[in-house]
């Protein structure tokens, strides 16, 4: 009995905050999405699934959803692969690897809202850095952020740049704890580097990959700072992401009920991923 009490007492402060700012809001989101938005002089009324119906008929919502999935698909595998490559490079005997490690990690330290302005310059048509480079090759000028086909791709590029270095650190730590004897044994047996990587290193890194994957997924739905500066969701919602749309609806249009419905979609996606990860991937991971 005493241990029960102590256990709960220890847990209490954290539990209190978690319930107040995670579980309660999550339930609150569901609750408020079933009512209308209160306005001055008009309290909220029960509308059932009306907000969801409006959402299903809202082309901007579908565009944001599609964009977010494309965004996730574009950033997650690439940043993880790049992080792994960086870790492998920096872990080996490379000239100047301390400096390289620093340069790969620097993007993580800079606030996204600041570097987005710098990337705005890179993508500026005419005299932006990218344009200056493509100009050298005689390629025509292109409006990178102002074209529907390339706006999202530009945001993906910026996100990969920001994330890869952060994931690299986790891979680096994991790599440095793989016993050297494995590498020695493999080279004694004449195993090629790629073979060694595929059969030994990568499976041993599975826990890290899983951890990094979780982070990458969360970030692909969480990171909208660059949109604020670079495209504001344009052109014509080509770079609109779900969380940014929620911010627009909730804090610019002040339509809190609709914002709640949109947030529910986001929560369901994240929850589905969490479930999928625990059920499917946990089995294939080699733990030591």
């Amino acid at each position: 009995m005493n241990r029960n009490l102590t256990g709960w007492l220890l847990l209490l402060p954290a539990a209190l905050l978690l319930v107040t700012f995670t579980h309660y809001p999550a339930l609150g989101t569901l609750y408020h999405s079933l009512f209308s938005t209160p306005k001055a002089g008009r309290a909220a009324v029960w509308v059932g699934l009306d907000n969801y119906q409006a959402m299903a008929a809202d082309p901007v919502f579908w565009q944001s959803l599609k964009n977010n999935l494309l965004f996730a698909l574009g950033t997650i595998p690439t940043s993880i692969a790049l992080a792994l490559a960086m870790a492998l490079l920096v872990n080996g005997k490379l000239r100047g690897r301390a400096f390289l490690r620093l340069s790969y990690f620097t993007p993580t330290i800079l606030p996204m809202i600041a570097v987005a302005n710098i990337w705005l310059f890179f993508f500026t048509p005419g005299y932006g850095l990218l344009e200056q480079v493509t100009g050298l090759f005689g390629l025509p000028t292109h409006n990178w952020l102002g074209s529907r086909d390339t706006a999202l791709a530009c945001l993906i590029a910026v996100t990969i740049w920001k994330e890869a270095g952060f994931f690299m650190i986790f891979y680096l730590a994991a790599l440095q704890s793989i016993a050297p004897v494995l590498g020695e044994a493999a080279s004694l047996e004449g195993a090629g580097r790629w073979y060694f990587f595929r059969r030994v290193t990568f499976p041993l890194l599975m826990p890290t990959t899983l951890f990094v994957l979780v982070n990458a997924v969360i970030n692909s739905f969480r990171l909208v700072d660059h949109i604020v500066v670079m495209t504001r969701g344009g052109p014509d919602n080509a770079s609109q992401l779900l969380l940014y749309y929620i911010y627009d609806v909730g804090f610019k249009f002040w339509d809190t009920a609709y914002a709640a419905a949109l947030t529910m979609v986001l929560l369901v996606i994240l929850a589905a991923f969490a479930l999928g990860q625990f059920v499917l991937l946990d089995r294939r991971v080699h733990y030591r």
Binding site: K39, A40, G41, V60, L120, T124, P125, G126, Y127, G138, P140, T141, N143, L145, G146, S147, R148, T231, R232, G234, P235, D236, N237, A238, D248, F251, K252, F253, W254, D255
Partner: protein, 430 residues
Amino acid sequence: MTFARAAATTLALGLALLAGIALAQPTTEITFYYPIAVGGPITRIVDGYAEQFSKEHPSIRVKPVYTGTYQESIVKALTAYRSGEPPTTAILLSTDMFTLIDEDAIVPWDELAKAADEAAWMKAFFPAFMKNSQTGGKTWGIPFQRSTIVLYWNKEIFKEAGLDPNKPPATWAEQVELAKKLTKRDASGNVTRWGVQVPSSGFPYWLFQGFTTQNDVLLMNEAGTQTHFDDPKVIEALQYWVDLSARHKVMAPGVIEWGTTPKDFFEKKTAMMWTTTGNLTNVRNNARFEFGVAMLPAGRHRGSPTGGGNFYVFKKAPAAQQQAAVKFAKWMTSPERAAQWGIDTGYVAVRPDAWQTAAMKKYVADFPAAAVARDQLQYAVAELSTHENQRVTKALNDGLQAALTGAKSPAQAMKDAQAEAERILRPYRR
């Protein structure tokens, strides 16, 4: 008690009494939210104004709070209002008027400014600026930092292209014709310099209003309950804009970034640009070539929307603070202050008598470009403003960007935008 002691005690008590009276002077403190939309040491200028006002009115203390861009400021003001502690007064977009009224957040100035001189003050502004400040017979906003769109042109490039550097295009046709001559291509046919640049990121509806006003059509009614996006003249205006890049190839394709347009102009990537008169000081300081400023070219006639921010006073603030806010707004928009503000920032001084002050007259004599925006006021119309303004303008913005990127035809884009606006505004027409 000795005489000395008695004297000392009396003196001490007397001083205490005086101090008490002094401390008991009620100082009304008002909070004042303001955005910054142009470059320069605006925070210092505004803080300076607040200090000077407090010096001249010792019983009022103004606390200026810088709240970011116009977008952020309205969010800040409304979040502060909803959490029960609104600012006493704020400078917000003139187009936010209906949103603020719907939120029941603001008080009309006529209810507060009842004294004779205050009533006269409210009539002293340019009528063009009052169009977004009044509805239902009441005045909800007092103009402070207002602007119009103007055309900037690079005189050097004009000369280089064999054109008269002092003759900017005066009509739509001339705009295309001159732009064609000004667009420069390199050996492989890639454009190295565009003829004209009209930005379309963020809030393309504002620049679009230039085209529609010039084409003699209004985008909404005065009550803010009806839009006319699918009017044939509106579609015509959009077609002209789209054709600049699609057909005549004198403007860059796709959505053009507002924030980098002045820089594009400085870097000579475009010979002409449409942007706010608020950029005047910026262009003057950074253009390394002779440039001119002109009214926008005429379609069926000249035209431009107005833009910028008004003073609003909030409801939940106590009466004493609201009265103090009236005094503050009146002081900030006095002819001398309005003139000085215009000179320091490039905004259009909001009242005709400000242009008659000595300082302003000298400034205009020195720099005639400063008067262009004022002269254009006679052709100016209200900026797009309706109920649920943010939502309706987003519908229009999306449609404009769709047309400019070629995803939809102008007619289709405007039809869709109108349908969406209808859906949003229908409940407000009951």
